[in-house]
């Protein structure tokens, strides 16, 4: 990985943005390489058949980052995707043979060239493009409620980059959409509308000044945070940061999205409060990926478990119930 530090293409095949700060990145990588080596050593001490079974030790390990080599198997194991696969009455290769719906095929094909055009693994007829089509079409075929929803293309692309395994990507996509995340991708995105209200509530509790300012300017949360929920920070934050976040989402679930979101907002308090109008505020959110503390994904992952304070599963459940009722009354 060291030699790619100065390359224009990152270690996952993405072209670095024009305004990429190589100096900040080099400084971070200097530190991060040591962390990666140490984490890899620590992970190699996990032994036995049940080494990836859910436990407080594994959770702690995961928060500090899963080494690339282990990522696919750990995600499969801790998320329940592996179990989903073992319990399934059909298998993935049979499912792929059933992909025939022409309108579904067309709609996915429109998006293939538009997904990660800046990544060498997805340009033109590269292998991962074909695999992405297979995963998305197979998924849509077996889940007619969701079908194909934009955003799933980005998630699938990232799964393929992390696992380099088409079938694993399929089962991980399935477990994410059907078990881990609320109804973000169904026809009316009801889960997203609720979670946008939940986010608003949590921001108000975290920092009333930021909350007031955002409302004063009149920016709807959907404008800048839809991708947080729909793409799980893909195309929003640097690739390595996204994978570190996903490590925790697969283990701890969708509350991690709020932890990340609240941390992003709080880390940018000064910048947010400085904005005077909508376009400036939107730009501020778009540029969050360049923040030093966010490029340093290791530090960022420490922040997300400190800055937002305590958010339990039951808190989140209650808030979602509250705002789902509010949605129904609108």
């Amino acid at each position: 990985m060291a030699q790619t530090m100065y390359s224009k293409i990152d270690e996952y095949g993405f072209e670095r943005p024009a305004n990429f700060d190589y100096e900040v990145h080099a400084e971070f990588m200097g530190k991060y390489m040591h962390i990666l080596v140490r984490r890899a050593q620590r992970w190699s001490t996990l032994k036995g058949k049940n080494k990836f079974t859910r436990s407080s030790k594994l959770k702690r390990f995961i928060r500090k980052g899963i080494p690339l080599d282990f990522r696919a198997s750990v995600w499969l194991q801790v998320s329940g995707a592996q179990k989903l696969k073992e319990d399934s009455v059909w298998n993935y290769s049979d499912l792929k043979k059933k992909i025939t719906n022409p309108s579904l095929i067309d709609i996915i094909k429109i998006d293939l060239p538009r997904t990660f055009p800046d990544n060498i693994n997805f340009i033109g007829q590269e292998q991962l493009t074909g695999q992405m089509f297979n995963v998305l079409a197979a998924f849509a075929h077996q889940n007619s409620e969701v079908g194909y929803c934009q955003g799933l293309n980005y998630i699938t692309g990232m799964l393929l980059l992390a696992t380099r395994n088409e079938e694993a990507s399929f089962w991980l996509l399935k477990v994410l959409v059907e078990k881990i995340l609320p109804k973000y991708s169904v026809t009316n995105m009801s889960g997203l509308l609720i979670d946008l209200d939940v986010l608003d509530d949590l921001v108000r509790k975290l920092d009333v000044d930021i909350h007031k300012h955002i409302h004063k300017i009149g920016m709807p949360w959907a404008m800048v945070t839809t991708k947080w929920f729909i793409c799980l920070f893909t195309e929003v934050l640097p690739t390595e940061t996204v994978f570190r976040i996903w490590d925790c989402i697969f283990y701890e679930g969708s509350k991690i999205i709020f932890r990340v979101g609240l941390t992003l907002i709080k880390l940018h308090k000064a910048e947010i409060l400085r904005t005077k109008e909508l376009s400036e505020l939107i730009t501020c959110f778009k540029e969050m990926r360049n923040h030093k503390d966010i490029i340093d994904c290791h530090q960022f992952m420490i922040h997300i478990f400190q800055i937002p304070g305590r958010i339990t599963d039951s808190d989140l459940k209650n808030l979602r119930t509250k705002y789902s009722k509010a949605q129904n009354q609108r």
């Binding site: 709609i107 429109i110 998006d111 060239p113 538009r114 997904t115 055009p117 929803c149 934009q150 955003g151 293309n153 980005y154 991708s185 169904v186 026809t187 009316n188 995105m189 009801s190 997203l192 509308l193 709807p220 959907a222 404008m223 839809t226 991708k227 729909i230 793409c231 195309e235 005077k276 109008e277 909508l278 376009s279 400036e280 939107i282 730009t283």
Partner: protein, 213 residues
């Protein structure tokens, strides 16, 4: 930069018809052959001149996929103009226009100016929708019509500017209540008699707004 009026636009239409490319061509004067797809809503702005008045266009570019309508619908309200876009090389995007129009009319203010746009006019060999069909649809539904190419920039300026001219005329005729921001029109800071803190505010937005907004 200061402005006399601010008009809010929304761009709608099926996925992949070139909404974001039209916006990029209008705001940045460039074409991106492979554009990222829009998740939710994106935003762009540009200053134009009509009747020697500076008008700022604030444009909301929406995701075309059905699922996103629950998110994008809320942006109709508060829009003075809408560009309803289809792709002349994909018949189904034309067939869906009625649904889009119903949705727009239902959720917007009744004076919103709607411009119908048949995009990708550079792809003549792949054309599936005749220009006359677009014209007929527009006539039938009281829309302004134009064929554009976000790639060659043909008619792109005209589409955005003619929409603004229509809105401007409606203001002159007194059709729009410009004091109600829900109509998607805002009077520029220096033109408002009620805001005492104006000179300062204008100055600062001028220095920070830059080329973007």
């Amino acid at each position: 930069m200061s402005y006399a009026y601010l008009f809010k636009y929304i761009i709608i239409g099926d996925t992949g018809v070139g909404k974001s490319c039209l916006l990029l061509q209008f705001t940045d004067k460039r074409f991106q052959p492979v554009h990222d797809l829009t998740i939710g809503v994106e935003f762009g702005a540009r200053m134009i001149t009509i009747d020697s008045k500076q008008i700022k266009l604030q444009i909301w570019d929406t995701a075309g996929q059905e699922a996103f309508r629950s998110i994008t619908r809320s942006y109709y309200r508060g829009a003075a103009g809408a560009l309803l876009v289809y792709d002349i090389t994909r018949r189904e995007t034309f067939n869906h226009l009625t649904t889009w129009l119903d949705d727009a009319r239902q959720h917007s203010n009744s004076n919103m100016v709607i411009m119908l746009i048949g995009n990708k006019s550079d792809l003549e060999s792949r054309r599936e929708v005749k220009k006359e069909e677009g014209e007929a649809f527009a006539r039938e539904h009281g829309l302004v019509f134009m064929e554009t190419s976000a790639k060659t920039a043909a008619n792109v300026e005209e589409a955005f500017i003619n929409t603004a001219k229509e809105i401007y005329e409606k203001i002159q005729e007194g059709v729009f209540d410009i004091n109600n921001e829900a109509n998607g029109i805002k009077i520029g800071p220096q033109h408002s008699p009620t805001n005492p803190s104006l000179p300062g505010a204008t100055g600062s937005s001028g220095s920070q707004g830059g080329g973007c907004c």
